[in-house]
């Protein structure tokens, strides 16, 4: 039953462009990008117990590197993508060394400070990043000579990358390494006594999450063909964190659901009210006060009421 539902859902996702209009296809592309981003943050927040408020750094830096290399230095999309992912992952390794000196709230504060520094740089180094004007006039890549300029082709591209990302992150957390990660989250001392290296496990997870954050950043810049410092801002990190927590951190599908909801809310609400930031703040208060464990765990608890907790 569960498998049939999943297969139907996958078929619906793949066939979406055949029955939906361009507006909805583009919305779906944005959802796929936001979902990859939220899933990568969930590796830290849900499975690693490391609440980061600076995850937008990886999205933004990957997007900026690709944008700068292709628009200013004449790189092709292939080499630019490789440099941007390698660079972002390397940055995640360095940020991890700094931020993992602390845990809990200290970790949160350091990730926030680091990402604010990057945001400030993007704003102020205007001779490199073009500051508040952002970098416009970018192009989408043409993998194997296929143009991604139509809504449907880009959606399929994003969906393919998103599926690979979902599978690889699922494998990551269901592997024995994933078990040691949740072990370190719950009982760091016991894990250390058992011979694991908690710091190394956290660091590797941080780098892996940074890698997927970078991948979502590449898709983000391909989709928008534009990049602005706001994609590095705390709001951007906070939207993703809200998606993770609203959907249910530490579950495999929750963050994707949460990211979808945040994105839909953002798209539909901004048609009626101008004040997205205020609404975002209110939704934060609501989710934390009313639904602290998230939507997906809440729903599955309802569905499995007879079977008891998993």
């Amino acid at each position: 039953m569960k498998w049939i539902a999943a297969a139907l859902f996958a078929a619906m996702l793949a066939l979406l462009p055949s029955f939906a209009g361009d507006f909805y296809i583009n919305l779906a592309s944005q959802i796929v990008i936001a979902a990859i981003f939220a899933l990568s943050l969930n590796l830290l927040v849900g499975f690693g117990g490391m609440t980061s408020l600076g995850h937008a750094s990886f999205l933004g830096v990957a997007a900026y590197i690709s944008a700068l290399l292709t628009s200013r230095y004449g790189f092709g999309h292939g080499p630019a993508a490789i440099v941007s992912i390698v660079g972002t992952t390397a940055m995640a390794a360095v940020f991890g060394i700094i931020a993992l000196r602390a845990s809990g709230l200290g970790f949160l504060m350091i990730t926030l400070a680091l990402s604010q520094v990057l945001w400030g740089l993007a704003y102020r180094m205007s001779n490199v990043t073009n500051g508040d004007n952002g970098i416009a006039g970018l192009t989408r890549p043409m993998p194997f000579g296929i143009s991604l300029d139509s809504a449907a082709s880009f959606y399929w591209f994003a969906l393919a990358v998103g599926s690979v990302a979902f599978l690889m992150m699922t494998t990551f957390v269901s592997s024995s390494f994933g078990s040691s990660l949740t072990g370190v989250r719950d009982q760091p001392r016991r894990m250390a006594a058992l011979g694991f290296n908690p710091w190394m496990i956290r660091w590797i997870t941080f780098i892996y999450a940074g890698f997927w954050g970078g991948v979502s950043g590449l898709l983000y810049v391909y989709y928008n063909k534009y990049i602005h410092p706001t994609s590095l801002s705390t709001t951007s990190s906070a939207e993703a964190l809200l998606g993770v927590i609203a959907g249910g951190s530490g579950t495999l599908t929750g963050p994707a659901v949460g990211a979808t909801l945040v994105l839909l809310l953002k798209n539909y609400a901004s048609a009626y009210v101008e004040r997205w930031n205020m609404l975002l703040g209110l939704v934060f208060l609501f989710i934390v006060l009313v639904m602290p464990t998230g939507i997906v765990p809440g729903l599955s608890k309802l569905l499995n009421r007879r079977g008891g907790p998993r």
């Binding site: 609440t51 709230l105 504060m109 350091i110 400070a113 400030g120 001779n127 930031n277 006060l289």
Partner: protein, 288 residues
């Protein structure tokens, strides 16, 4: 020479402002184990209150305005603590998230109320003329600001070390459960400390107004500075916040003057050094 002296004074005055901002942050963190991400927004709210009051009634002295704005921001902070934060005592992550949500709400409300243009705050008239000292010229207001920060530091020191309330706060910082067991009303202390921290930030916002002026995004500019100060100085330590503030004030001012584009990077070098060698901060006792 004049350059170095003026920049030195600018560093001191920025350090003083940062102390007004981060002392409350550090105090709240120490007692409540709560990273209050609304703190930058409280500071900005103070600046906007000050700008509005001083432009509407030009006769008001900046001290009255700072006191009034401090009380107003403290009241807002107190309501927030009572109505929202106290409901989340067992959920530290939830607390951080609601402070973040609250900071979005406040900064967006400021944008609605005061618009997107920056509002300059006039320097008080009796402090406008420069002070001459050994042949050098100093802006008087900045000197006064440094004095304010030092006065605030001394007042906070006496409050914490010499009064009954301070003794209760220190007991709560050291061991919350034990403090509760001997009859200290810790929940009320939380509210008092949160109000105090928010109030100092609000008053600091008014005093910082003539230097920074009120603009949207001021909260986002100040919060990371406060975070860096607190990470540097050590969480929950008043002296640590004091020293950290002036270190950050110097680095940021000289960084901006000498390498304008790299100031943000230079700013977090000391943070990395401290984290590498003393993760608990220069004077911190608490593991974050």
């Amino acid at each position: 020479m004049q350059f170095w002296i003026i920049q030195g004074l600018n560093s001191l005055s920025l350090g003083g402002l940062l102390f007004l901002l981060s002392s409350g942050f550090s105090l709240i963190f120490g007692l409540m184990r709560l990273a209050n991400l609304t703190h930058g927004a409280f500071f900005m709210l103070g600046t906007y209150f000050g700008a509005t009051a001083m432009r509407a009634y030009s006769g008001l002295s900046i001290w009255t305005v700072a006191l009034g704005a401090g009380v107003a921001v403290a009241a807002i902070g107190g309501l927030f603590e009572r109505l929202v934060l106290s409901k989340l005592k067992t959920n530290p992550l939830g607390q951080v998230l609601v402070t973040l949500g609250m900071s979005f709400i406040i900064s967006d409300a400021c944008l609605v109320l005061w618009g997107g243009d920056s509002i300059p705050v006039p320097t008080p008239q009796n402090l406008q003329s420069p002070t001459r000292f050994f042949g050098f010229v100093f802006p008087t207001y900045r000197l006064v600001l440094v004095g304010c920060a030092i006065a605030a530091a001394i007042a906070l020191y006496f409050l914490l070390e010499r009064t009954r309330l301070g003794a209760m706060i220190r007991a709560g910082v050291d061991d919350r459960q034990m403090a509760r067991a001997v009859g200290i009303p810790v929940s009320n202390l939380f509210t008092i400390v949160f109000c105090l921290g928010a109030g100092i930030a609000g008053a600091g916002g008014v005093l910082g107004g003539p230097i920074l002026s009120a603009y949207p995004g001021l909260d986002g500019d100040m919060l990371p500075l406060a975070l860096i100060v607190v990470i540097l100085g050590g969480i929950g330590s008043l002296l640590g916040a004091f020293i950290g503030s002036f270190i950050v004030g110097f680095i940021y001012t000289f960084g901006t003057a000498l390498f304008p584009e790299l100031a943000y990077i230079i700013l977090f070098l000391p943070m990395i050094l401290v984290l590498a060698f003393r993760p608990q901060g220069l004077l911190g006792r608490l593991g974050a």
